[in-house]
Symmetry: D2
């Protein structure tokens, strides 16, 4: 009800604040018998970790995942899996400059109005640090999907005005983890890296886009009306900090197409039902049809910039706020594992839900 849980059958509930004791996630509904280790979770967390390259925030956060329950002798037991990530020393920082002032395009003001006060340390619950808990849970979802042969690849497809125009079919997903931007084209990677460095030099930030491709998804995932597969994917992506838009398949470009061009004609290919084109993005009527699922997620620029900005304080007076601290100049390189995690959580939830579709 308070919006800290996600999923209906494979349910994750996250908790914790940016600079409190720690953050964590409880996974309820994971089938018993799944092999999982802390190391496997750690691999995903490390992809989201601050300080991993010179174009992301240089904060030092170790983000060590500890499984507190629900796993015994290396396997899930069917009971809730709690994963905890202790925060580093949370008392060391100084928040006097934001305690009473509302940072522009942050959640400070609305939290104060909604709850009467707020944990002002590093954004508290509104910090993107919360997404580490999602990535940890996503590691389990990914393992379940792997057993079904499903693969998920996200990559950076735009940074500011630099857009990777190639369709995903022409990309080599193996390149994604070979460059610090996490795009799927090494030439573009270099341009994007320089673009981000330039932005940071100016004390500024910039937006970007993450594209995601899901391959080998079984036919039949997604529910027909409100919980359409793309509706749940959309909600999942829009719930990630800084996301401003979601489109799948032909997306907003599809608006201009006529039906005769947009329709994906069915054919028999290698003995199975397939479609000639895939403007549907692998989902028809809200349900996966076995073709590739692909979608785009648009991120705005990070709100914390290294410049002075006009604002108001909680006494209702106009004032100025000073940029401080270490922040990402562009969020998308670290958003790639988050997008993958949320996609995996949605698919796993629908995979489990689909087990009772038929008698």
């Amino acid at each position: 009800m308070a919006g800290n849980s996600f999923g209906k059958k494979f349910i994750i509930s996250t908790f914790g604040e940016s600079h409190g004791k720690g953050i964590g996630v409880v996974i309820d509904g994971c089938p018993a018998g799944l092999e999982i280790t802390e190391e496997e979770i750690q691999i995903e967390l490390d992809r989201r970790r601050p300080g991993q390259s010179n174009i992301v925030t240089q904060r030092k956060e170790k983000d060590h995942a500890e499984i507190q329950s629900g796993v015994f002798e290396g396997k899930t037991t069917g009971t809730p899996i709690s994963i905890y990530i202790k925060n580093g020393d949370q008392r060391s920082r100084d928040y006097d400059h934001i305690k009473d002032k509302y940072r522009p395009s942050h959640a400070d003001y609305v939290y104060d109005k909604k709850y009467g006060f707020r944990d002002y340390r590093g954004g508290g619950r509104s910090s993107a640090r919360e997404t580490a808990a999602r990535v940890a849970a996503g590691a389990l979802a990914k393992k379940i999907l792997e057993r079904e042969g499903v693969s998920i690849h996200a990559y950076v497809s735009q940074v500011g005005t630099l857009k990777l125009e190639k369709p995903y079919q022409e990309l080599d997903f193996n390149q994604i983890e070979q460059n610090i931007v996490r795009t799927a084209d090494l030439e573009m990677a270099e341009k994007m890296t320089n673009y981000i460095k330039e932005v940071r030099k100016n004390g500024d930030t910039v937006g970007g886009m993450v594209s995601c491709v899901i391959q080998n998804c079984p036919v039949g995932l997604g529910e027909p009306v409100f919980d359409k597969l793309h509706a749940d994917l959309g909600k999942a992506m829009l719930s990630i900090n800084a996301v401003k838009g979601f489109e799948y398949g032909s997306g907003f470009d599809g608006i201009q197409m006529n039906g005769s061009a947009h329709n994906d004609l069915f054919e028999i290919k290698e003995g199975k039902i397939s479609t000639e084109s895939n403007y549907s993005g692998g989902i028809q009527g809200g349900i996966s049809n076995g073709m590739d699922i692909y979608f785009n997620v648009g991120f705005k620029a990070v709100a914390t910039i290294m410049r002075d900005q006009k604002t108001v304080d909680n006494a209702g007076l106009e004032t100025q706020i000073t940029g401080k601290g270490r922040h990402d100049p562009c969020v998308v390189p670290r958003a790639v594992p988050i997008v993958e995690a949320m996609a995996a959580l949605v698919l796993t939830d629908h995979l489990l839900r689909s087990k009772t579709d038929k008698m």
Copy 2:
């Protein structure tokens, strides 16, 4: 769990098939004491009704809303409100041409795979007819929001390649119901009307965009993590048939902006906290900040076209399917009240949820 319900505190559950006995909605969680009449519901339904103009489907559906429960002496009682819309004579049509064949870019194939068989009459549950039930429920949500002073205006902002480029602030929302396309500019209305007629003449269909503006929303609606206000709006919109994308505030265009330009600086205006710009789209950290909420919803072209198309049948053989029946050449004029209804349902749900934010 099977995805036929929406909302957590103001919950709607829809049922019914396109050519079954009827369709309906049960609303659970509506506070007692709201004055509502069948006529008020009917007004909204009539905006969604087929046959209302010469650019929408000419099917004859009366869509009469009947309140079956939950209202006594003109007021809601706090118990479930069931609204039923009887279908017209459901036996009159011939479905032999689609019974065994999969219409391209429809849900026929995935339903067969998911459920083992399907109600093939007019698309059954996958038909956009289901959205009439949402519009009926939305009428109640709108009445609740009116009492809070909230207004919701949706309008058509694109048809195929024709795009209304003016920002919403320059539009006159009174014009929306004065033209059959439901755009907010009479000159553009004429162009769009002609565009749609041309498309129909070719037996084809085309996509479009609906934009929506919510004004005077109280500060504090939306939950911080997964149930961010825009995430729930996004899911609501993406759950509407034919929707391919959702963006709010600066949307996908925001990607190219630097943080220093994108940030909405706080100021005191007319004695209250406000922001100079509104790229945030009235939502920060997932919570409404009192500024206008605005978003775009992209619709693909209707899949049913009046042309022959290649496809396969349920025996796995390639075949042809013939376009038949009366369908919308462009879905957006009738989608306007659906977008408004879903927006109203999301806001009302979050309004009620917010009543326990503070002690």
Copy 3:
């Protein structure tokens, strides 16, 4: 949230008032491919129907179940199943005697306080008429369980001071539908019938007990912590009008037993794991163990009596209320199919939920 839905995977939502247009239920989550007819639902409804014998209320209610959606060509389609039961002529009765007065031990007073006003016609939503919708839904649940070989038998085990002391193993369940009290012993049936007639002659009412036995339940239904199988059965039973208590297995009598006597020792019987005794009532740690599940449900006397009673009105003045109308002198004969329906709904929900227990 407003408590009109039950179940987490096989979800029923009921609506409707005693003397409104009708009552109904929407079932969401029923697997596709289940064969069901209106006649099968009607059989269960007829067991609950008023006027079926001379010891129950003589009201004339036809209670005809109409399937409005979710069934096609005799089988469930996987989409919501709406079942509607139209009320008879709802305008014929006179409610002036209860409109402003609070009937003792009814819900009139609390509804007025909770909702600000109430539908006073025949108790509105608080009427036990709502349970007809549950029985209709239960008919589907029973069919699902039948396929698994599960059987459910409820019977009257007490009326006032008359208690059927025989353990269920000594009873012949075939006798239940052979007597109008629905007890499982024909001798006791006659005594109970006379007891109820005597009570009615005095314008009074009396309580009773319904016992229920579930046989051949698969091992593993029920969730370990809050949704223990007996906790969900208990809630289901306590949600039936007039129920005051629930006990399963050894029940309240088990309090006096020592652990050495109460423990059910495991043994191998006919090649499978079994327990020598069954004080656990077929459920251990909240999960079915394959032994018979049995429980008791205690009902208080019906509150509507044919006598004058002291009360207060909605102006806060003391007054008198007169007994009127046709009501059950004892609720348990008609409660038997309701108990069975609720038991079937709980088991089916847990059966479907258990499909993802293991990888």
Copy 4:
């Protein structure tokens, strides 16, 4: 879905196993601004703690509650509150005697069948240790209720054959915490203490009853149909380990009463609406009416006894199991705070839910 969460608006999710790293609870939906300290939670935990007297288990568990999130500067922030209770050294014990054998009337067998294997250390998730997490969450619920003036008192009313026959009105609740049995009569306390000691001396265990009285509950809590207040209380109590029955108000004894005697006549008392008797137990039609709510909870004898018992092992062979370890001879003294916690959680959930009953 997997049954580890409870509540719809004030939602608790527990996790952790008896002998894993620790147990915990996440509370979602607690309003912001509630003052709470770890000390206040500890007080309740200490009432449930093993080793607190010589008639309960002598295991040494410190059960220290640590708030990990959701509280800032002594007040709840509106975000999830995670409370963690680290287990003591979990490696020190030897489980060889139960690893492959099914303890009679424990959950060992059903866990193995449901999940394919089990965490056999001390019962894992099926251990009553899980209830410590509930008690911790209940401490917050109690604080919310206190602000409304609601009081909750549970006490032991039966141990084996010894029953406290006095109605609650004649008891002094101050005595409850003055005796180690937690009954409300010092004379009976002595008898019960001796009874329990005798049972333990024989290596045996015995059942008991906890009664609970809720005073000054506001009118209007509880939802009319499935989520009746007593149905939710019943489920809450039945979800506690070892509970076999629940009754409220007149309970099972009410069966024998006629309606004319059982009806609670309304009257005006001290200027407000009240009832002369209170067989309804403060709840009518599932909704609180302002009178005292009272109910009984029946517990069976603890299954772990200090004797050899016949059983089977996971290879399906008959064998013997030896009683070992330190266990409660009678569970009810330590169950008192658990019953109170669950009652507080139900009431708080319904209190928050009721905030949107009316416009």
